[in-house]
Symmetry: C2
Subunit: 200 residues, 2 copies
């Protein structure tokens, strides 16, 4: 199986969450694996001058409506959490620490963190909440809490974010397949068609 | 046939063009007609603080790529015109003047203007070019040129734009069906599903 579907997202991105519920199954239908790559969207958005989506007049109200509608259509549990948007540093750093120490669990951690945040409204900006999620997946809680403060882990997230920006990533979700960029949960149909026919 | 699919667009919007090539056929599959409503996107964008899409760093480059890719997939002729973006006042005013005087020709005028601009790269900000397009559809050229300067026509476009903003329109294309909003050419799949099942 080739793993060259690169899935960039920020844990604070609701459309990133909707994509996260679909991307693995979609890629698998075409024999592809997915590299999950959390990053700090705020860094990318400095380049585009973008604002947090749901705070923009008109566009924010529309997007809130569209998110709920899309989640209903896909039968995905969805809420706008009370604490939103959040600082996703703890969740993102936890992902990379888990990816280094329990490589087979990092993806499940990402799915569980997204689900706790946008499915149940828990505040995943808090390291304790992140540790709870990781612990439920069999991760050593104490080691993870230390890992979150490790400068190697902080640098890793910074480096992954820089790589993303260099590759042109400016939003979440942002998917690269064989170098081809797809921005937005609403591009999954196009992505699927691309995987199906091998580009056009 | 019910005509309650409201299709809002700006003639300077490339995603509006892509939607314009699909919207009538899509609605017709569900026995619906479409009200074509050009408006001044700049007025709506004052509310959202939006920038012209293709001028935004990273996002602009991505969108240029995505537009060409989407047009290829849909087999729609597409180019980014040399003069772009343009002031679409002349084309929009012409639309409403034709809609009043040759109601059965306004939609074909809109399609032809979009096609001349994004299909062939002609500068439809120029009243002479707009008049050429209208004349080719059997519209009285001289009467139209006078109409473009008529304050009633100017007010009509202003009014239609205000109505759009009041209805929450902040982008192009923006489609309302039975009050339900769909923003972006990438929401046509959702719109189709909505027409198919009557909402969800």
């Amino acid at each position: 199986m080739s793993f060259d579907v690169e899935f960039y997202f920020d844990f604070s991105s609701p459309y990133g969450y909707l994509a996260s519920c679909q991307i693995d199954d979609l890629a698998l239908r075409y024999g592809r694996g997915v590299n999950w790559r959390p990053m700090m969207l705020g860094v990318a958005m400095k380049q585009t001058g973008g604002q947090p989506l749901l705070h923009i007049p008109l566009k924010g109200e529309y997007s809130t409506h569209d998110l709920a509608r899309t989640a209903r259509r896909l039968d995905i549990p969805f809420t706008i959490p009370e604490q939103f948007p959040i600082n996703s540093l703890a969740a993102s750093r936890a992902f990379y620490w888990i990816d280094d120490n329990y490589p087979e669990r990092s993806r499940n951690f990402a799915k569980a963190a997204f689900r706790m945040f946008f499915g149940e409204g828990s505040d995943i900006s808090m390291p304790m909440v992140v540790a709870d999620i990781a612990e439920s997946l069999g991760v050593d809680r104490k080691a993870l809490m230390l890992g979150l403060m490790d400068s190697d882990v902080k640098n890793r997230l910074r480096m992954e974010t820089n790589i993303a920006v260099e590759r042109g990533v400016f939003g979440s979700p942002f998917i690269l397949v064989d170098g081809e960029p797809f921005w937005g949960a609403d591009r999954l149909n196009d992505l699927e068609h691309w995987l199906d026919v091998g580009g056009w």
